[in-house]
Amino acid sequence: MTRSITENVGHVRRCVLAATALTLLAAGCTFGASSQPSYSPTFAPVDCPAEVRTSTSRETKCGYLTVPENRSEPSGRQIRLFVFRMEPDLPTEAAPVVYVGDDLGYSFDYRDTGFMADHLDGPEVIGLEARGTGYSEPNLSCPEVEGIAPQTLTKPIDDPGLRAAFVGAVKACHDRLAVQGVDLSSYGVDESGADVVDLARALGLTRWDVISKGSTSRIVLQAMRSNPAGLRSVVLSDPEFPDTDPTTQAFQGTRASVGELDDLCKEDPSCVRMFPDLTSSFDRAIRRFEERPVTVRVSGVRIRVDGARLLRDLRNLFAGLGDIPAVKHLPATIAALADAPDPTSSLRAVVAPEITAPTFCAGYLPFCSGLVSQGAYYSVLCRNIAPFASASAPEGITGDAAAWTADYAKGPYQDVCGAWDVEPADASTTTPVSSPVPVLVFNGELDPFGATDVRKEIGGFSNAFLLDLAVRSHPVAAIPPCPDDNPRNEFLAHPTHMPSAPCGENFRPTFAMSPL
C-alpha cells in the first residue's frame, strides 16, 4: 500500500512536469504567432458575374478567397478576393496558370482575359482580382476623384484650384473608406503578394505558373520573395519592378520610347527621309503648345491643350499602341504636331482618349480605357512607392522643360500621399527579388511605362529569359501580327528554355507618311 502511494506521487510529479512543459511549449507557440500569423485562407464558390461567364468559351467557375485584411492581425477583419477559374477544354497535365491582372488598381478587362485564356495551350486559368479592385470586396474606387474629371479637361495641370479639388477628392475618398473600417495601409503589394500565395494554398495547388501584365508584376515579385511552394514559372509582360519610381520612369521611359520610334523610323528609308529626327520633333511639339496653348473640341467636349497635356497624351498614345496602324502613323503625327501649320486633326486624335479616361490617368497610368479603383492604386503608391522614391531625381532630369516638371516632378501624384494617409511598407519590399524560379519577361521597347534597364532588374533571377520586342508597347491584349501567345505557350511548356519569337523579334512596320 505504501509503495503504491509513492508510485502514484511519482506519477503525479511526472504529470506535473509534463503539463508544465506543455504549458511552456504552448506559450512559446502563442508568442511565436505574433510574428508568424496563423490563419487559414478559405475559398467559397459563388455564381459568376455575366461578364466573366461570357468572356471565354471555357467552362468558368467563380468564388471568393477570404483572407485577413491585415495579416499581422490574422483574427481581425477579413476581406474577400474575387477568383475565377476558367477550366481547360480538355483533360490536361499542364499546371494551372494564376493570372493577377493588368495594371495596379484596374479591374480585369474580361474580354481580354477571356481572349488570353482561349489562347493558352490548355491549362486552367485561375484569375485573382487584387485586393481593392474589381469584384474583390471592398472595392476601393473613388467616385469623388472621378467627379473632377470634367475640370481636368479645361484647366492646366498646375492650376491651383484643380489641384486643390483633386487633393480634396482624394481625401474625401480616403476618409469615407476609413470610416467604413477599411485599413488602407493593408492594400499595398506586400499584402497583395501574400494573397497570391494564399490562393495557391487555399486551392491546394501543388504546381502552378503565374502570369502578370504591366505593373501587377509588383504583386507577383512580392509573392516570389516567400518562395511559395509549387510555383513553377512566371511570365511578366511589360513589368514594373519593386524599385521603379513612376516619376523617374515617366522621364526615362517616355524618352526611351521616343528614341526607339526614332530608331525604327531610321530603319525605314521613307520614314527617315521624311522625319529624320523624331526626338527633336517630339520636343518641338511639346514646346509649341507650351508657348501657345489651344482649345480643341472633340465630340462636343472642349479640351485645353498645352505642352504638358500634349506630353501626357503622347505618352498615353505610346502606351496604348495596341495595333500596328497606330504605330505606322506615329512619326507623321509627331512631325505634324511639331511643324504642321494646322495640326488640329492630329491634336484631336491624340487628346481624344482623355474624354473617357479616369481622372489624371492619361500619361500617368499605362491603361486608361478601363475603370480604376483609385484607392487601390493610391495605397500602393503611398505605401510601397512614394516613401522610397528619390525626391531629387525628377528635378534633375527635367532640366528647364516646363511641361515635364508640371506633369511629373510637380505633378498631381506628388500631392496624393499627403491626403492618402497610410503606413509606409518595410523597405525590404522594394529590394530586388532573387529566385531560381524560371521567369520570362516580355519587354516592349515602345512602352513608355517600361523599365529602362530590364536586364539589371532581372539580375536576381537565375533562370530569367528576356524577350525584347521592338514594335511592342504596353498591350493589354496581344498585338497582331506577333501576339505573345506562341512564345508564352512555348515557355509554359518548357520553362527552362528560352522561347523562340521570330515574328516579334524581326517584325518591322512600314511607316505611313500621313498623320493621325
Binding site: 502511494i5 502514484n8 506521487v9 503525479v12 510529479r13 504529470c15 506535473v16 503539463a19 508544465t20 506543455l22 504549458t23 504552448a26 506559450a27 507557440c29 502563442t30 504567432a33 496563423s38 490563419y39 459563388v46 455564381d47 458575374p49 461578364e51 477570404t66 490574422p74 483574427s75 481581425g76 477583419r77 477579413q78 476581406i79 474577400r80 474575387f82 479591374s107 482580382e129 479592385t133 474589381g134 469584384y135 470586396e137 471592398p138 472595392n139 474606387s141 473613388c142 467616385p143 469623388e144 472621378e146 467627379g147 473632377i148 474629371a149 470634367p150 475640370q151 469615407r176 470610416v179 467604413q180 473600417g181 477599411v182 462636343g300 467636349v301 474624354i355 473617357t356 475603370l371 479603383s373
Partner: protein, 190 residues
Amino acid sequence: MSIDSRLREGLQRSMSAIATDPDEHLEDARRQGHRRVVIRRALTSAGVAAVVVLVAILGPAVLGALRGGQREPISSPSTLPIVGDYVVRLSPADAGGSGVPHAAGTWVLKLQGDGVLQLAPLRNGNLGGGPSQFQLTGSGFITTALAGAACPGVGSYTWFRSGSTLTFSLVTDPCPLRVAIFSSHPWRAT
C-alpha cells in the same frame, strides 16, 4: 480442546490484532495525511497546468472566432445588395425639369458587383455616356453616372430596395439631369 478453551484462544488472537502501539499509529497517520496533501496539491497543479495549456492552445482560436463574428466582410455573400438591372420611365415633365427635355423616356441602369455603373436611355444612346462608378456606404450611394460634359461632380443619394423596387432619394447632386433620372421615380428590377 474444550469449547471454552477454543473460545479463549480465539478471543486472544482477536485482542492481539486490536492491541497496538498508539505512537506508532500516530506517525503512520501523519505520513498518510502528508501524502494526501501532496497528492491533492499535485492534482491541483496538474489541473491548473492542463487549463493553462488548453487556454494557450484554444484561446486565440476562440477569440478569433468571436472577433471574426463581429467583423464580417463589407458586402453580402455573393454581391453587393444593390446589384442588378433596373429600368425607370422619365416623363416629359421630369425631363423638362432637368433642362434636358429629350431625356424623356425609359432609362436602363445596370449596377455591377465591381462598382461599375452603366446608365443609358433605351432610345437616345448619345445621352448615356460610358461606364462609371458607384459606391455604397450603408444607405448612402454616390456615383459619377453620366460623368463628363453632361454631368459634373458626384451625385450623392440614399437608396432603399424593397423587392424589385429600388428607390433613390437625393442628398446632393450638382447635375439636374442625374437628379431627374435617379430620383424622379422608383426603379424596377428587370
